[in-house]
């Protein structure tokens, strides 16, 4: 018998005419690792919230159909019992940490269940140990890095020992190393404890291979549900669906015949092909092994163009009031047409550097110059026409009744009146049809484009973006990447912070790596990303040691893969 059974489940949010869930039928077995995929607004979060008993209890709205957990209809299960069985970790740790101290946060759920102190002590010790949190138990949660905060949230749910663990994009704000760590813990719980895991994730490269079952949703319906990963890969390849991790996508797009799911399987396939080629007597250097170019950008003729120096960061250090040294001796130059991605572990100082560049903070030592003028010499409002800044949360920009009013508001602030610019910006960012819509009602990707439009309204030469891919699905990320590349081609400089290695590899030209407050490396994406282990796209891992040529983009990967056919 299925452990979780969903029958004709339909759900409407309050005052909505279209259903968020439309006749869902699904059976999940105990101990399965289920991956739920789908674009923003497809109903995945609604489905898991229904499984956690939050729909309709917490949200209201209308629900039809049946939802069974271990043979019992969820609506008839007492809330205490349901909370004990189903644990849920949401996307943003900031918005689910309730208590101010780590230990109190870990015990909150157990206290709510009325568990005895001795049992709580044992569980705190156990989850603290498993997630390496014991040394932080008395820390203030606000002092923790994003990764640690997400671990605390996960630990607080695990301490309640649920049978089913639901995770709604738990790694979207984490650096690759921390994300890997969290998913490893989840996999161990699934394998060693038999815990049923239901995971929603946009970065498929991190988790696709872990899944026992993949469910794909579209417009509130399930369009694919299978335990055969090859089946889902073939379906996605045929449908040109964005829900394919980079490696299967590369092989599927190259019509390679076989489609490996992981880097390991891909490498084994390449190994066997290269052995076959050797056995046919083909020379490696003549055929598929290629001599690297010294500097890909030079070869493309980019450095020969006249490029204006926009930004100069010289010896910048920054120490916060509490004495923590966030930046140490940083140097950075940006020219027109640069697209630089700044990467590094959580709390490496990336956002602090961006704030120093934008003038939100002033360096404790060193200087930041834009167009030769020191940033701190002018009030930060006066830089709005030259330096655009898109922060992590697009919602912080939006408050007016229409999208066009949002863009006009920036123009008014800069004492500009140009209705043509409003129209052209909306066209450029695909927002024309939402011109009269309330921006906060739009989907996450659309909201972000509106926020970007408000930033671009001032026609800035430098655009700074802090974690813009957070919570975006593959299709939305591709849209954003293309928009940014177009802006780059217009001659603007782009400085972007992200943990999304695949995005950085695909769209940036340069990468800078930060660690412990310092930029430790900067170079072309090929130079930086092809050599690393965690901060490296899957395609680079695939071809490492098979070719001397750096391969970091899918397009490049496709051309190199041709040589293995």
């Amino acid at each position: 018998m299925a452990y979780i059974k969903v029958e004709d489940l339909t759900y409407y949010y309050p005052e909505q005419e279209l259903p968020a869930l439309d006749k869902i039928n699904l059976s999940l077995n105990k101990g399965e690792f289920v991956l739920i995929l789908g674009s923003s607004g497809c109903g995945k979060s609604s489905l898991v919230r229904a499984l956690a008993g939050l729909l309709p209890d917490f949200y209201g709205g209308k629900m039809g159909g049946h939802l069974y957990l271990d043979g019992q209809e969820i609506r008839t299960i007492k809330r205490a019992s349901l909370v004990n069985k189903v644990g849920m970790v949401f996307q943003d740790p900031e918005s689910q940490l309730i208590m101010s101290n780590v230990e109190r946060e870990l015990v909150l759920g157990m206290e709510n269940l009325g568990l005895p102190v001795s049992l709580m002590q044992r569980r705190v010790m156990e989850v603290g140990d498993a997630l390496a949190l014991n040394s932080y138990l008395q820390e203030n949660v606000n002092d923790l890095s994003g990764g640690l905060k997400q671990k605390v949230v996960l630990a607080s749910v695990l301490a309640m020992q649920p049978d089913i663990l639901i995770l709604d994009e738990p790694t979207s704000q984490l650096d690759p190393v921390t994300a890997e760590e969290i998913l490893t813990i989840v996999r161990k719980l699934n394998e060693d404890q038999g815990m049923t895991v239901i995971l929603i994730e946009q970065r498929l490269e991190r988790c696709f291979h872990l899944a026992d079952r993949v469910v794909v949703m579209e417009k509130g319906q399930i369009v694919q549900n299978t335990t055969n990963l090859e089946e889902i890969v073939n379906w996605a390849a045929n449908e040109d669906s964005p829900f394919l991790p980079p490696i299967p996508r590369l092989f599927a797009n190259s019509n390679f015949g076989q489609i490996p799911l992981t880097v390991k399987a891909g490498r084994q396939l390449l190994e066997s092909r290269s052995n076959q080629k050797r056995s046919y007597g083909e020379s490696q250097s003549e055929d598929w092994r290629v001599t690297p170019r010294e500097n890909p950008r030079e070869a493309d003729g980019e450095v020969t163009e006249h490029r204006e120096l926009l930004l100069q960061v010289e010896k910048v250090s920054y120490t916060y009031e509490n004495g923590s040294e966030a930046l140490k001796d940083n140097y950075l130059d940006l020219f027109t047409g640069d697209f630089l991605v700044l990467m590094g572990e959580n709390a490496a100082g990336k956002t602090t550097l961006l704030k120093n560049i934008r003038g939100l903070l002033h360096p404790s030592e060193g200087s930041v110059r834009f167009g030769g003028e020191e940033i701190k010499k002018k009030p930060l409002e006066e830089w709005a026409g030259e330096i655009g800044y898109l922060s992590q949360n697009p919602g912080d920009y939006l408050f007016l009744p229409t999208v066009s009013a949002e863009i006009e508001f920036t123009l008014e602030n800069l004492h500009l009146t140009n209705s043509e610019r409003v129209v052209s910006l909306m066209e450029k960012l695909g927002l024309t049809k939402y011109a009269r819509s309330y921006a906060r009602d739009l989907s996450s990707g659309e909201r972000q484009r509106v926020a970007l439009a408000t930033v671009l309204a001032g026609d800035p030469k430098l655009i700074i973006l802090d974690e813009p891919t957070r919570g975006l699905d593959y299709a939305l990320k591709a849209q954003l990447g293309e928009i940014l590349q177009n802006l780059q081609q217009e001659g603007r400089a782009i400085l972007l912070v992200t943990h999304d290695v695949e995005f950085a590899a695909e769209y940036a030209t340069d990468i800078a790596l930060m660690s412990q407050g310092k930029i430790i490396a900067r170079g072309s994406k090929e130079e930086i990303l092809s050599d690393l282990t965690f901060f490296s796209p899957q395609v680079a891992k695939l071809f490492r040691n098979f070719t001397d040529e750096p391969v970091v983009t899918l397009a490049k990967g496709k051309s190199v893969l041709e040589r293995f056919r």
Binding site: L54, D57, F58, R79, A80, V83, N84, G87, F90, D92, E94, S95, Q96, I98, M99, S100, N101, E103, R104, V107, L108, M110, E111, N112, L113, G114, L115, P116, V117, M120, Q121, V124, N140, N142, D143, V157, M160, K355, R358, L360, L380, E381, A384, G385, G388, Y389, S391, N393, G395, D396, Y397, L398, F399, F409, T410, N413, L414, R440, V455, G458
Partner: protein
């Protein structure tokens, strides 16, 4: 990120104010506010003000209190002015001014000045109690205290306490974002400056609603408000809590007794009632009862043995 919560974190383990049961602190503050509204006699109100002030000072919250008092004094001034100019009662005329349209003749009496001052004093006591609430009652403690109740009021109160420090951080972040968008919040014209904060406030309200919703969802998913809950850490009722609560009980009963005897009352109009020494004695008693946490805190700091016993 959040200095409000950091202050708790740093000193939580050493200081008595962080070790009091939240219910004790809430009882203390409720009693102070109740008696402030109840008393009319200036002696009793002064006794309460000094008692609460000494408790605040003993908890080393001088700077924080001054910030609250600054606001309090400006409100006190407004109350006094309104009372002085609009209340014509009182027989001791200090100033007889010209006839103004709408207001009539300006007539300032000594009794109206005294009554306005005492009303202002009441406000200062309530503001001081609020200061104590903000720096002594930990939001975690309130959430845990209310967690046993399943009604929506408890959830809303718990959430607002959690949300308040987060809103401060949100306000700073949204201000930064809007300034980056060219919104000049520091325009020379103060009216323009105020009008420019409207976007910040609107975004803050919208974001806070969304965040409150997410926090509430997280609480719901972890079983908050299921009913009787257990308590992990040592915020149990200790001897120190009992001492303070017994004192409070004594203080409230004494106040009711004095009120029954008519000593807590005071008439301001048409002429001030004479100040009697028996009221002064009662007020000193009340003051001693409400200043007791400061004495206890002094002992807590001075004698480690006492600290371990209570």
């Amino acid at each position: 990120m959040n200095r409000y919560l950091d202050t708790y974190q740093q000193r939580e383990r050493e200081e008595m104010r962080y070790r009091l049961h939240p219910a004790t602190v809430l009882l203390y503050l409720t009693a102070v506010v109740f008696l402030t509204l109840f008393f009319k006699h200036p002696f009793f109100l002064l006794a309460l003000f000094f008692a609460v002030g000494l408790v605040i000072l003993s908890f080393e919250l001088y700077k924080e209190w001054m910030a609250y008092l600054k606001i309090g004094f400006s409100f006190m001034l407004v109350i006094m002015l309104i009372n002085v100019f609009f209340v014509r009662a009182g027989s001791t005329v200090l100033y007889l001014g010209p006839v103004l349209p709408v207001f009539g003749r300006i007539r300032i009496t000594f009794e109206a000045v005294c009554f306005g001052t005492v009303m202002g004093l009441k406000l200062l006591i309530i503001i001081s109690a609020f200061c104590l609430f903000m720096y002594v009652v930990h939001p975690d403690g309130i959430l845990r205290l209310l967690g046993g109740r399943s009604d929506k009021t408890a959830l809303a109160l718990g959430l607002s306490l959690r949300l308040f420090p987060l809103m401060r951080a949100d306000f700073l972040r949204i201000t930064e974002v809007q300034r980056c968008r060219g919104v000049n919040l520091y325009e020379r014209s103060s009216w323009k400056g105020v009008s420019k904060t409207i976007p910040v406030i609107r975004v803050l309200l919208l974001s806070s609603l969304e965040r409150a919703f997410q926090l509430a969802e997280s609480l719901q998913a972890r079983g908050y408000g299921l009913g009787k809950r257990s308590s992990f850490s040592s915020t149990e009722w200790r001897l120190r809590d009992r001492f303070i609560e017994i004192g409070l009980l004594l203080g409230v009963f004494l106040s009711l007794f004095l009120a029954w005897r008519g000593q807590a009352d005071f008439s301001y109009y048409p002429r001030l009632q004479s100040l009697e020494s028996s009221a002064l004695v009662g007020a000193v008693f009340i003051g001693l009862v409400f200043v007791f946490p400061a004495f206890l805190n002094w002992g807590w700091k001075k004698w480690p043995t006492l600290r371990s016993r209570i």
